[in-house]
Symmetry: D2
Subunit: 442 residues, 4 copies
């Protein structure tokens, strides 16, 4: 890394890219990126050109010596990379719409990460990630893989179980969003708040909350279960919890917990969106189209304000913070997805967990806080089983394994309904599931 | 125990009692019961008299020197007992009807053991069991507590966590029923079949199946997932599984798994029963009324055939087998609820599990088969969390804790719906929940 | 196995063989051996002929239809075998003498199983066992490997870690000897005594002791620490324990514990034997020579009394009991070496342990008794580490790994002394350590 | 803590105190100590006066507003304290001399922390620490206990097992000394080196070594096992390791490992010291006498150079670094003794371990690095068993338990020799072992 870093972003044509660029620009002092390669596939070429040219204009305006490369040739890009970030979406938003809509058409929440939709996102994504890892092992064996692609838990689990790469981190903006939400609730600067996170991706709990190093959990739980904060809570946490439930749980939930502890309410909302043609993928598609219209403007040379509505807030910040802490051996604490190593005793030591880690030059190391509270242990274990079996199905292309993953998902009401959804989704995503449809497999 | 055993049956007025008597009569040679005390409470006096007199006639007809005592005085009965069996039902079938019907009135399966109904059965039962244990520690400290009262998992967990009694076994007829069902499927005598059981009460899996000591699991799974056996399977296993699901699960399910892997189908059935006034408690109530009419017949001196329809088949056999194996140090293998001791590594060592155990004079010792299959680990953990928090709520009478137990139950769709059910059920069962309603508690 | 069993005994020329034959004869009713193949290597041909012919005479006298085959062709023997027992000794007693004498020449106890001598026995034996397993996988994939060859713990660990064979059991006569000793101490028949064993081979503890199913541990510990039983205790347990130590340990020790809890006393004894040319190997060599003289007698057709002095008492009984319980799916409890599966939580689940197991047709299953007492946990862990690293050294032929195993052994006082012993022993055993001396390895 | 901290040092008359004072002075900017209470007992009054007055002169010279109080009244001192440090020595150096000399008189290394000497140091110290904790719970329930008193592992274990105090940290200068030694070996500034520590107090391993965040373990192991560094290594690591052993161990040892992996060499040295009247306690006593002579000089107002020879180098720095990181919520990584919480899976979660922790305002949190290497697991477990049983003996005053702790210590060759040493040491330390000699106990 002697003369500046080479960073490769796979899925570089994503609408998120300007945020990432902004991040690299803002932290150039501590993170001297020399080359940034934005990689995409043939179908994404147009978007890559649009967003890539915006990236170049942003760098130029900032006056920084970062070379931005646009390419469809992944292997050339990966050669000698220092950091590889992945933010691609196999099948684009169209596929996500199917992930969300097909389950809903059978009365089941799709949930594009830890639900039946997430299973299919995993089936499409895991083989591509494993392919990238294979390339990395050959072309840049010392590089870090920073994965933003969902389902980040299943993807990290798959890399840990099915490859030898250990320099992998799964990243999500949910924990940092929770910390910022709590800072707003307490009306203090984010830097003064720290949460002890433990759990899995999109199934993470805040086990304790500190303001200037002193626990304020009791106070925060009190505030979160108070009616006067209900609109705030709905905004941060979903539809709000029953105060008695939250007090007994005695931990912060993440927004995705609504799918599991608030299933009927969420289902009703989602069905309404389904009927209105406004499931999240559809809303996002519209936003993205608008964003790309903006990005095309040759006079635009900074991240447009509208991107923040897209929902990926803090992603850039989380990603650059992480890369910088690794690069600079900062030894600060950040919540990421990494190997458990016993930090959560009821989860296998070799599995992926999402928890507060010390970030060193050799990567994140989980902070041991003891086992999860009894109340959260079951649901976390269930999603972990889902992630493991989902990853296995993705790798083997085995139909039975896929049905097992589908059926044990907490959102799926039966093997029968699971099979109906599975069959319909396999058909719908056929072209992106070669492991399931190639004649030689399984 | 020198001159014959003293056995105490709490809830002796139960309609099951004739089966138990029959068991003691049939195994008198190996299990010399000298005194059998049937204990009940004031409200159960009439039934105790009816069934108790039948018991006496049965013993007399068998010509055995067993003294049958009927009493409302539990402490006199417990003095110097060798075995204490519990089969009482706090609030009788009326309470069970509420456990089943109130959740259904909100579109939720009641499930009287591991569902919201089971939570309330636990809240009513655990304090009574702990009271019995207190009496036992004073009056018969060397006796064994053989508990049939549901929810047997939560009850065993509560005894292990909140008392010092270690001579406790939870007993269920489900595993033995599964073995007999598989024997019928294979068309062989039950004695030739053995299943490796592991899991929790009413959440137990058959991890392997042996015929004459040789694994026939693959064959059995094949048979169970074949259409030609579908009517058999529906009978034994519920509504039948998707073959691909069962093959991937690669383990036997118990009938109660239908509530969790077949939720929508079961809910539909139960709602129909609800509308027809035919939930299980109501059906059983009718059967019991008929049984007690039969029991009254002074000429009846054996277990009437109709009892087998009641649903407790093999209970007597399972109970007497267990007591006899303890008494005779038989060292045979039986599936019971006992302390885990590490046999299932992902469950706390000090928690109750239901699994194949060697039965010795000093009680059951679990057989270590390694951890549960990944696919079952999540659901089992979730029910274990439910049992632990439910037991805690029963002991403390804490409302918040009860709502937490309710909400994390896999059948309950949200904290909001959970709270509605909780409030309505607390009110309905008020008189049997002194820990929740006494002014001094909590 | 339809028409009688084929049993193969590798190291068939051993002086123990007549005991084994006697066992097969005595249990022929329950264990119908049709073919018994005694296999040895070229150097053992003479002894094989002598003992093999005695075996034939014994079978003939018993009038049983067991075909006894003598062969140097292991692969022919293994074809379609049902049970393979191993009792060979690489390098014969000569090698054992070196295992014992070289360490003693540096003031260190040799201990031919869990000491520095045992390391070398393992280095010589493990590769041969792995070779046998390879043959078995090809020629009799359904057979059971019943290993008596020491160090049985390291050998079982090696098979579990470096092969796919799971039908392997390590067998030792120490636990059965402890039970028989306790029966004599209590002056009751052996059949009435049962001990809960847990630990490792030659490092096994009796955690509880039952007479007719009732714990008599306190009483036994009292007796064992009473001066009036000191001569008995010395005989069974070695040189006797300090009563206060034994009471606090609150468990039965095995004779080999003397090497670890009684090191200075044992060392003194052994040094005396060393100076007198009477270390165990030398004593045994003399006994064996005498035995083989007896065996040659064409009129001898039964096991001579003198064999019992050889020290392998109960081996035959333990072995045949085990084979019969597997064959007949007896489900009785026997102490053997097998995979831990979580039964001892502080030992890795996949490691070998020696403990009370239920013996079924599919092999031994450990009985979960909870973790080891705190006081034994350290020493057991240390020997387990020694076994694992010793096995690794045997497989890889890596010098550094061998020195690590040597140095962490509790009997070896330093890496320096360890290296001196290691170098001298490597040289002395050169011809039996091809992994260390072949030019291509490591 | 609003207006400056109150720090209480128990054993304030120690010769180490000037180093501590220097530390507080040097870090006053980040750690505003307002009151420093030096507490000692009657027998230590003279030394307390001498060193306390030096402390006052040092503070005065530095011109800082720190109030130094000297007192024999512990309870007054503890009132509302923020940090309590303990550096007392029950029985003074005289007792340590017995800890070292009595075992040596029987040919056994005394080892004043993890050997038989350490057992006695624990038996004397643990009850006093538990008394201090009782006072703290009453008088300063929010204070941190920073314990330097040896045996720090056993003491921390005792506080975790026998009190409710969780704000306890055990501190040792060994790890920081190892880091500084490696920095010297690499000829770089200490700040650039970081070691991943894991194990127990005085039984800690460096599992990895980083220079500027990049692992240099292989290189360091190479250097440490190279003859050209032998004098350096002897100085840092003891007598030097066999290169092959160190390479296979593949971890840094701490100096105390010499007692366990280098026992015969160490014993010889210690026996020589014993014969010459120069065991460590005797050497230190002489140094201390000289130091106190220096301390008396009314013109001395800084830490004298000679203190560094005393052997407690970096203690002050380690202590103040730790206190400051807690006070300032620094979230840096430091090696300390604290609750394991699963970070080392083969050690009980609730036990004390010494490992790299993130230091936050709510104390140290271990960094999960996975289980210990197989080779170290046994010895660490054995010392952990010794610590637990030693702590139990200290609390109960039970003779049998004390003999058990003695016998399982790896340095003690038998229960017989252990008993001889135990009896002689109990007698020698009688006055400081009230739990063993009060008529009412045990
Ligand atoms: Mn996310
Ligand atoms: Mn049941
Ligand atoms: Mn043996
Ligand atoms: Mn220290």
């Amino acid at each position: 890394m002697s003369e500046g870093l080479k960073v490769v972003t796979i899925g570089g044509g994503s609408s998120y890219t300007p945020e990432l660029i902004e991040g690299f620009i803002n932290r150039y002092d501590e993170l001297p990126v020399k080359e940034l390669w934005l990689v995409d596939i043939e179908e994404g070429k147009e978007k890559l050109d649009i967003v890539g040219n915006l990236a170049k204009r942003m760098v130029e305006k900032a006056g920084l010596p970062i070379d931005v490369h646009l390419t469809l040739d992944r292997q050339t890009a990966l050669k000698d990379a220092d950091f590889v970030t992945t933010q691609f979406r196999v099948g684009l938003l169209d596929a996500r719409a199917k992930d969300e809509r097909i389950p809903l058409s059978h009365g089941v929440i799709g949930q594009e990460t830890n639900g039946p939709g997430g299973l299919f996102k995993g089936l499409r994504t895991v083989p591509v990630i494993l392919d990238i890892v294979k390339d990395m092992e050959a072309l840049c064996p010392n590089a870090w893989l920073i994965n933003f692609t969902n389902p980040a838990g299943m993807v990290t689990e798959a890399v840990l179980r099915y490859t030898d790469l250990r320099k992998v981190v799964g990243l999500c903006n949910v924990p940092i969003g929770m910390e910022m939400g709590i800072a707003r609730l307490l009306d203090v600067d984010h830097s003064r708040v720290r949460i002890d996170f433990a759990g899995l991706n999109h199934m993470v709990y805040g086990l304790d909350i500190f303001l200037d190093g002193v626990s304020v959990k009791e106070d925060v739980i009190q505030k979160l279960s108070s009616p006067e904060n209900s609109s705030f809570v709905k905004n941060v946490e979903g539809s709000g919890w029953e105060p008695e439930f939250l007090r007994a749980l005695n931990a912060l939930t993440c927004p995705y917990h609504n799918y599991y502890y608030n299933t009927d309410v969420m289902l009703e909302k989602e069905l309404e969106n389904y009927r209105d043609g406004k499931v999240r993928a559809q809303v996002v598609q519209k936003l993205e189209n608008e964003l790309f219209e903006l990005y095309k403007d040759p006079d635009l040379s900074e991240k447009p304000q509208q991107l923040s509505e897209r929902g990926g807030a803090y992603y850039s910040d989380a990603a650059i913070r992480l890369i910088s802490s690794i690069y600079n051996d900062k030894k600060d604490i950040q919540p990421v997805n990494t190997i458990n190593n016993g930090a959560i005793p009821s989860i296998p030591a070799e599995s992926a967990v999402e928890m507060s880690c010390v970030i060193t030059k050799e990567g994140p190391k989980p902070v041991a806080m003891g086992d999860l509270p009894v109340a959260s242990r079951g649901l976390v274990q269930q999603i972990k089983s889902f992630e493991r079996i989902g990853a296995e199905a993705a790798v083997t292309g085995n139909y039975d394994t896929a049905l097992l993953a589908m059926t044990i998902n907490p959102l799926v009401p039966s093997d029968k309904t699971g099979k109906v959804i599975l069959d319909e989704m396999l058909e719908a995503h056929k072209q992106h599931l070669p492991n399931f449809f190639q004649p030689t497999k399984n």
